[in-house]
């Protein structure tokens, strides 16, 4: 056996031991109630005003956070799990196979943490990363403005230096869950005299600071996951600026790559839902054999095939990223394809449900039917939030294909 072979074998053995130990720990520590399917209402987002619908949610979060497994890949010195990419895949694998719920949903874990690790000062990392791991601080994202959507770099929120502070004034929009968040990572203009990309800075703002007003936005789905946030001369310590002043755009773009990777993964499945073909069987028939409507059947097949291909492409990207690289411009592909596919599947589901998908509330429609109608409406935002599909196409054309401006 060559040296490389024996090193490989030793690594495989170590990984297999890790798998066994991880499984045993999960079985011993994950409360049975946390091994049941999760609805949107059961989500745990943590924060100062954390809501736990069930005491086991808190137990599960604390146990996982103590091991750093709410952020498995992060360094242990900041409270992370310190796992290798392979170990992190094993953990995810074992959690999936045991049906363990994700203990924490967190923009801090998914988006902010990775860029803090890359760009923040040592002091900032020590202050902000551990509370993210433990779910003690809930973060929201202050990027878009009424006048800065796809053209994000034209943002106008100002941060004017004043002694040890910045004075922030402006108007952010589409800030997810701002009404329930403790802190915001925010893009502000610190230098209005330079070209638009150069005058932007990345600022961390405590939402408890005086002068901040939050107003939820009601969507076509009837829900209000997004807010408008108004800043009226809000005082923010200069030590909360990540990177140097004017370097915010680089950090912002990196964070968007993490966000896009996240959005494409979150559209991975319709949890606990009937399959498209299952609904078609029920609503179209016949009870056996090829479905009655050949055209719909073909669209179901195409959606299912594309879903499978998208899933294994995500897996291939994970294999390619074993070296530990963060998501690159390909995250735009996953964002684009994942969201367009999700919209297509949501529309197909509504079409298959027929009249039963036309209800808004009240009698005559099951909870599942109403939820699917709302989910269809919610899905229309998928290809807009986190950068529109058209912006993703621009990024792929420029960054991946190298096409000229």
């Amino acid at each position: 056996m060559s040296h490389a072979d024996s090193a490989g074998a030793a690594r495989r053995d170590a990984l297999s031991t890790f798998r066994t130990e991880t499984r045993a720990w999960l079985i011993a520590n994950c409360p049975p109630t946390m091994r049941t399917p999760m609805s949107d209402d059961d989500e745990v987002w943590g924060g100062r005003r954390a809501v736990f619908d069930h005491p086991d949610q808190k137990v599960w979060l604390e146990r996982m956070a103590r091991r750093g497994w709410t952020a498995p890949r992060w360094p242990t010195e900041y409270g992370g799990g310190g796992l290798s990419p392979e170990q992190a895949l094993v953990l995810a694998d074992e959690m999936r196979s045991l049906g363990c719920r994700r203990p924490l949903k967190s923009f801090g874990v998914w988006m902010l943490g990775p860029v803090l690790l890359e760009f923040a000062s040592e002091e900032q990392k020590r202050e902000h990363i551990p509370p993210i791991v433990h779910g003690e601080i809930r973060w929201c994202q202050g990027y878009s403005e009424p006048g800065a959507g796809s053209d994000l770099a034209s943002l106008a929120a100002r941060a004017v230096p004043d002694g040890d502070d910045y004075i922030v004034s402006g108007h952010k929009i589409w800030t997810s869950h701002a009404d329930r968040s403790d802190w915001m990572f925010c893009l502000v203009r610190t230098d209005p005299s330079t070209p638009k990309h150069d005058g932007i800075s990345f600022l961390l703002i405590d939402m408890a600071a005086p002068g901040i007003t939050v107003r939820p936005i009601r969507l076509i789905s009837g829900n209000s996951p997004f807010c408008e946030t108004f800043f009226d001369e809000v005082r923010v310590p200069k030590k909360n600026l990540v990177g140097r002043p004017g370097a915010g755009w680089t950090i912002a773009k990196r964070l968007l790559q993490h966000e896009r990777a996240l959005i494409s993964e979150m559209r991975d499945a319709f949890p606990d839902e009937e399959t498209l073909e299952g609904v078609a069987r029920r609503t179209l028939g016949p009870s056996v054999g090829p479905l009655a409507d050949a055209a719909l059947r073909d669209r179901i097949v195409q959606a299912n095939m594309d879903f499978y291909c998208n899933k294994i492409t995500l897996r291939r990207a994970a294999e390619a990223a074993e070296a530990g690289r963060g998501p690159g411009a390909e995250s735009s592909m996953f964002k684009l394809y994942g969201t367009e596919l999700n919209k297509r599947r949501r529309e197909l589901m509504v079409e298959l449900l027929g009249y039963q998908a036309l209800g808004w509330e009240g009698d005559g429609f099951s909870a599942g039917e109403l939820a699917r109608t709302r989910a269809w409406l919610r899905s229309r935002a998928n290809s807009i939030e986190g950068g529109t599909s058209e912006i993703q196409l621009n990024i792929i054309a420029k960054r991946v294909l190298g096409l000229p401006d």
Partner: protein
């Protein structure tokens, strides 16, 4: 985003790329076409591929092969797809050897496979009879006689049938056309009595043949009489996965050539690749191609692992590879503008190959239908 290849796979890919690039660039296919070559591929090149172990890549060592898998063979086919290298891979390796490995006895395999691996023997599958891929629509009769069977019927689209040394004939020994049961696979030498072979010149400058059997004696059965569909289906799944790897090579080659053209061709004083109308279409194609890569790789792995979802995954791969190859070549012609429809430019050759490959082993629609059937809807 690249495949994660082992060192051995990387070396196979390099070998295949170098050989094909030097000996069978697209100009090679063009020359064979323009000279109306009688064989349609280079026998010398085929022998050389064999001597490098590429032909027998996925055939066990005990039968003269390299004993590797479809993940490795796929790399070779991918490189052949990039240059449209005309080879008998589809006929003799993907179909012929696969049918033998699925249904042949050890003795049959010992007799035939070493010569296949050495590049000395071409085996063709005489299967299709209708104007499209309908695997069980078989009317060719296998009538029992004293020493075996007599074959009578007419086959079409027999890939490389005009140069085959042997035919594996899909014949009906029982049942009616369309029945999966009652098929028998028989091996007959091409010079057996009662065989008439007529070469068909295909749109992609490759070859297929019409083959007539008139009371041709056949003794060598592959697998069990009447249960030939088991052997056939297994061989077709493997062959389809391999063909998809070739298609992927063509897809990526055409796409790269087109992107390069978008960067250099100028109109209105700027490169045409700066126009958003073209950028977005190119970016969409990029996504479709990345998904195609994933599913083709998955299908090749599924073959090597004999995964239970093999047939379903092969159908996803063939449906997607067919759609994507057609989409990419259609867009490539359009984006090249007038020069795109000239014979001088290679893009048209890829367009033609895409169409033939699409129809081979079932179109995208065929495989979507099969996928639904496999999943019970």
């Amino acid at each position: 985003m690249s495949y994660v290849l082992t060192e051995e796979q990387e070396s196979i890919r390099r070998t295949a790329k170098a050989l094909v690039g030097e000996r069978a660039p697209v100009a090679h296919l063009r020359a064979l076409r323009d000279e109306a070559d009688k064989v349609g591929f280079s026998r010398e090149l085929w022998k050389e591929m064999a001597s490098l172990g590429l032909v027998g890549m996925a055939i066990p060592e005990s039968y003269g092969g390299a004993g590797l898998g479809f993940a490795e063979l796929g790399l070779v086919l991918y490189e052949c797809g990039r240059t449209l290298a005309p080879t008998p891979f589809v006929a003799t390796v993907l179909l012929g050897a696969s049918a033998l490995l699925s249904g042949g006895s050890p003795e049959q395999n010992r007799t035939m496979l070493p010569a296949v691996c050495a590049g000395d023997r071409i085996i063709a599958l005489a299967h299709d009879e209708r104007s499209r891929f309908l695997p069980y629509e078989i009317t060719t009769r296998a009538e029992p006689d004293r020493s075996g069977f007599r074959l009578s019927g007419e086959k079409t689209f027999v890939i490389d049938g005009h140069v085959a040394d042997d035919f594996i004939v899909v014949a009906r020994s029982a049942g009616a056309p369309g029945d999966r049961a009652g098929l028998t696979l028989l091996v007959v030498p091409a010079d057996a009595p009662g065989i008439t072979v007529t070469r068909s010149h295909m749109v992609d400058s490759r070859n297929a043949a019409r083959v007539r059997f008139a009371a041709t004696p056949a003794r060598e059965i592959l697998g069990q009489p009447g249960a030939g569909a088991d052997v056939l289906d297994a061989a077709l799944d493997r062959a389809t996965a391999g063909l998809c790897a070739e298609m992927l090579g063509g897809i990526e080659e055409v796409f790269e050539r087109t992107i390069a053209y978008l960067k250099t061709r100028r109109q209105f004083g700027v490169p045409i690749g700066s126009f958003q109308a073209l950028k977005h279409r190119a970016a969409y194609l990029f996504c479709e191609i990345e998904l195609s890569k994933s599913i083709v790789l998955d299908a090749l792995r599924a073959v090597d692992l004999s995964r239970p979802d093999l047939s379903a995954v092969v159908s996803v791969a063939k449906a997607r590879a067919s759609d994507t190859y057609l989409a990419v070549t259609n867009e490539a012609v359009q984006m090249h503008g007038g020069v795109g429809v000239t014979d001088e430019l290679d893009i048209g050759l890829f367009l033609k190959r895409a169409r033939v490959a699409e129809m081979t082993f079932g179109t995208a629609s065929y495989h979507r239908n099969r996928y639904a059937e496999l999943h019970g809807y």
